[in-house]
């Protein structure tokens, strides 16, 4: 959590806005003047996490750049639902070329801007997990390797949604997709395959890598802002539930994003130049089951013919993340991974909130109440 949470306003900084906060401390999304880079009338499904994530991220980029930005988009839902010719939902300069070349297109734009002496115009590349992790992988790795001045944002809904929910390199184990049916002794996607893109990005030692979810807006916005403070290649990986592909209720989109983080299955962290610099602690730990159960893509794991052993294997993945990123506060030092500097984190759990004096100090600091 790279931002300083505000405490004791009923909701702290968990919510989008807060009437008691100073204007400049409020989230971009709480502003009536926010850009709405992706405007109404787009054709994303009801409750689409990708549509939400894109608006969150790009509005924050627009805020950070004063609107001087261009986005290059890979093929995928985000592109298809936003731009059925001749209508567009984009209120920013935006270009679509191919499924696999968004990072390369972004690189080209950045080079062109540089050539024109317009380094003030910042470039964003974006796409789904398929476009990013699978078909666009080579272009993206090249962009990282050259340290091109592009922020690349991947909206990870864990499959190729636009073409009918096929498996991608980001599809989690056991999940049912059109190409990993829930049949046979090990139904759903296999264990042990796929790519951990944030870690691959870190391996390129680019200036900035972060993960985020649509459930934590303040965190996401702070990461975008942080990313924009660097020049060079930056990567943000946003977890975006997809009601259609996951078989979840349209109203559960944010809830699922919240739950996945609380299980540990999706670690939320930041890294600079290849080192983890901050992690978001789990606030109220839950078993993976609570996250899996509301999604029909995992329905085969439950019920009479369920697969409890598979759920255990998924739990083990969550536990591994928890240990690897020190996602729990009470983790003994011996279990903390070497070199994982947990820097600008905020300790919700361990902080003794009954210590009135320090809490009060924060309170008065943020309100100026006297």
């Amino acid at each position: 959590m790279p931002y300083q949470p505000i405490k004791f306003y009923q909701t702290g900084s968990f919510v989008v806005g807060n009437r008691l906060l100073d204007q400049n401390e409020r989230s971009v999304q709480s502003d009536t003047e926010r850009l709405n880079s992706l405007t109404s009338g787009h054709r994303a499904c009801q409750g689409c996490g990708e549509a939400l994530g894109a608006r969150y991220a790009l509005d924050a980029v627009a805020k950070a750049t004063g609107g001087r930005m261009i986005a290059a988009n890979a093929t995928g839902c985000l592109e298809v639902f936003s731009t059925p010719f001749p209508e567009t939902s984009w209120r920013i300069p935006w270009i679509h070329s191919l499924f696999g070349n968004a990072p390369a297109v972004a690189t080209g734009i950045a080079a062109a801007m540089h050539a024109k002496g317009r380094d003030d115009i910042r470039v964003v590349g974006q796409g789904g997990d398929g476009g990013t992790i699978d078909i666009g992988f080579g272009c993206l790795s090249g962009m990282f390797e050259r340290n091109d001045d592009v922020l690349y944002i991947c909206y990870d809904n864990e499959a190729y949604m636009n073409t009918g929910v096929q498996r991608s390199g980001a599809t989690p184990p056991a999940a049912r997709t059109a190409t990993t049916q829930a049949v046979g002794p090990n139904p759903g996607n296999v264990f042990g395959q796929g790519k951990d893109m944030p870690r691959i990005a870190m391996a390129h030692e680019i200036p900035y890598v972060a993960t985020a979810t649509v459930a934590e807006l303040r965190d996401l916005e702070a990461k975008v802002e942080r990313a924009m403070s660097f020049r060079g290649a930056r990567y943000i990986h946003v977890f975006v539930p997809c009601p259609l592909g996951w078989g979840s209720s349209s109203n559960d989109t944010i809830k699922l994003a919240r739950l996945v983080k609380e299980t540990g299955l999706f670690p939320v962290f930041e890294a600079e130049h290849g080192e983890v610099t901050a992690v978001s602690k789990i606030r109220r730990r839950i078993p993976v089951e609570e996250y899996l159960r509301p999604q029909r893509r995992y329905a085969h794991l439950f019920g009479e013919h369920g697969h409890p052993e598979t759920i255990e294997r998924i739990q083990a993945l969550a536990d591994r993340n928890i240990a690897r990123y020190a996602l729990l506060d009470d983790l003994p030092d011996s279990l903390k991974p070497p070199g994982s500097a947990v820097g600008r984190q905020v300790r919700w759990q361990s902080e003794d909130l009954s210590e009135q004096t320090s809490a009060m100090a924060i309170l008065t600091e943020t309100t100026g109440a006297h």
Partner: protein, 544 residues
């Protein structure tokens, strides 16, 4: 199409042309639900409303205080003696601990006294005169509300000073008299006439003599119940109400070094704690049943024990003599009634105080046609009116819980009904919303923040003096405490719905004006409903 770029055939359009609202089968709507605290307040305070104002600090405190005053003219008193049923049902209790509503109310009440805040009645004079009998909380509350409504009020009270049981019952270590005086003075200063040492013998005569258009009776219940206890000639037996009343006179009651109190209610605790403060080495409460059956509130029993009051549960007084009592041990039978065991023991006691409840003295109603009394209390209808048109009653003398706050609530309700009656109309209370129970909230969004504990005087000081036992909050922790409120059931403008809509279909109307849906684009996904922390949005089926 000569003027279009290569391969372009149509003008660029916006997706705003695509009204995705047509996809919807259900629509979100904003609702207001009744917060459990408001629902539980016997004086009908809009607690959430004033906490909301208080959260802003600064000028917000005045607005918060003013909001309380719309329903209850005694915030500083409430903050000390109200048993706060609001906190018992506060949703925050299920999250960590209840919001310290009562302590914030006290802070606001004290702030008002400190700053000299007042209320100006602004209703035009109605030309009607109302007689109030009894200057206890109920009578004073009615006087305040009737004055606010433009009526001329005269109160008659038999006491030497106003306040009723707030002065002659509740000990000062729980309710300092300067606080009581300040809040009563504020009401009297609004133009209420108060006649002290004026015992009304007959209501009808009094009304006729003064040319009153209506009357509100709030004479309380002051006659200590006696129980038959076989006693020797020299036994020193008193009743609790008289003991507490004499605390207000020049002559403090003489109780001796060891005092026994019979009863298990709050009055028993107050007498025993008073005895301790008057110098008794032993103050023993003798009660027939077990602790969990005691009608006294837990915190009062707790505080009494902390101060060294001894409890004898499952005990009755069989015989009283000079200097000693004979106590019989009891057992609870299967039906939960205490039964004698035949086991006796002696207890040293210079005096025996009976705290077994009070009855109302209804002599002033003798011969007034239409009045019905049952079980020693006067019957009233929904409008707080007795069987005699124009005579209303409330407080301890009518059937309800006997607390200061209930009395205040009666006074307010009676005032509104008297007002309607004087204007030949009917008082229609506002429609009650559905209660915002815990399951309507999305508590994820609330920051973890346990309640502030009010400072308690150290034990040594409080058993020897009549200084106030429970301290108040200071500015910072009062603000903090107010901000712990979850705003159950009513939008507090956290902007969540505005933020989480994937279709930008929520319109933010600006500070204080909440939000509205743009149904042209709302697809009905329902995320806003799920993510609203306080349960202020609901899905409704779309009518097609």
């Amino acid at each position: 199409m000569p003027n279009k770029p290569f391969a372009i055939t149509l003008n660029v359009g916006s997706s705003l042309a695509n009204k995705t609202g047509s996809w919807r089968t259900e629509r979100p709507v904003y609702v207001d639900r009744l917060p459990p605290c408001n629902n539980a307040c016997p004086a009908g305070e809009n607690i959430q409303g004033w906490l909301y104002q208080g959260e802003e600090g600064g000028d917000g405190y005045y607005r918060a205080w003013h909001q309380i005053m719309l329903d209850n003219p005694f915030p500083a008193i409430m903050g000390r003696v109200c048993y706060h049923p609001c906190e018992t049902v506060c949703n925050r209790a299920q999250l960590d601990t209840a919001v310290g509503i009562n302590s914030v109310e006290r802070f606001l009440g004290d702030e008002a006294i400190k700053q000299g805040w007042t209320i100006e009645p602004d209703a035009p004079p109605s030309g009607k005169k109302v007689l109030i009998i009894g200057a206890g909380p109920s009578g004073l509350s009615a006087a305040y509300h009737l004055t606010m409504l433009g009526h001329k009020v005269t109160i008659a009270d038999s006491g030497r000073a106003p306040g009723g049981m707030m002065r002659y019952g509740i000990p000062k270590y729980r309710l300092p008299r300067d606080v009581l005086d300040a809040e009563i003075a504020r009401i009297l200063d609004m133009g209420v006439t108060l006649g002290l040492n004026r015992t009304v013998r007959n209501v009808a005569d009094e009304m006729a003599a003064g040319g009153f258009d209506a009357a509100f009776l709030a004479v309380g219940a002051h006659i200590g119940r006696r129980a038959y206890i076989p006693a020797g000639e020299a036994a020193h037996i008193l009743d609790a109400v008289s003991v507490l009343r004499s605390m207000e006179g020049e002559q403090k009651p003489l109780l001796g070094r060891s005092v026994a109190v019979v009863g298990g209610g709050n009055t028993a605790m107050d007498v025993a704690r008073t005895a301790k403060r008057l110098g008794a080495t032993d103050a023993v409460v003798v009660y027939r049943r077990t602790r969990d059956r005691m009608p006294a509130h837990d915190f009062e029993v707790e505080e009494a024990i902390e101060e060294g009051v001894e409890m004898r549960w499952l005990s009755t007084v069989k015989h009283a003599d000079a200097g000693k009592l004979l106590i019989e041990k009891m057992v609870m039978d299967e039906a939960g009634f205490p039964q004698p065991t035949g086991d006796f023991e002696e207890l040293e006691a210079d005096s025996l105080v009976l705290a077994m409840g009070q009855d109302a003295d209804l002599a002033l109603l003798d011969g007034v046609p239409g009045i019905e009394a049952d079980d020693g209390v006067v019957k009233v209808n929904q409008a707080m009116m007795t069987g005699h048109p124009g005579i209303f009653a409330g407080g301890d003398m009518v059937p309800d819980d006997r607390t200061v706050t209930v009395g205040i609530g009666h006074g307010k309700k009676a005032a509104r009904n008297i007002d309607a009656w004087l204007r030949d109309s009917r008082y229609e209370p506002g429609h009650k919303h559905e209660v915002a129970h815990y399951d309507k909230l999305n508590t994820w969004y609330y920051a973890d923040a346990p309640a502030t504990v009010r400072p308690t005087l150290d034990i040594a000081r409080r058993t020897s003096t009549f200084e106030e036992v429970v301290g108040g909050l200071d500015e910072t922790n009062a603000l903090y405490e107010a901000r712990r409120c979850l705003s159950c059931g009513n939008c507090f403008e956290c902007d969540n719905c505005y933020g989480v809509c994937p279709d930008n279909a929520v319109v933010k109307l600006g500070a204080g004006n909440r939000f509205e849906f743009n149904y042209d684009y709302c697809k009905g996904c329902g995320i806003c409903v799920q993510e609203c922390p306080c349960g202020a949005i609901e899905m409704e089926p779309e009518t097609i």
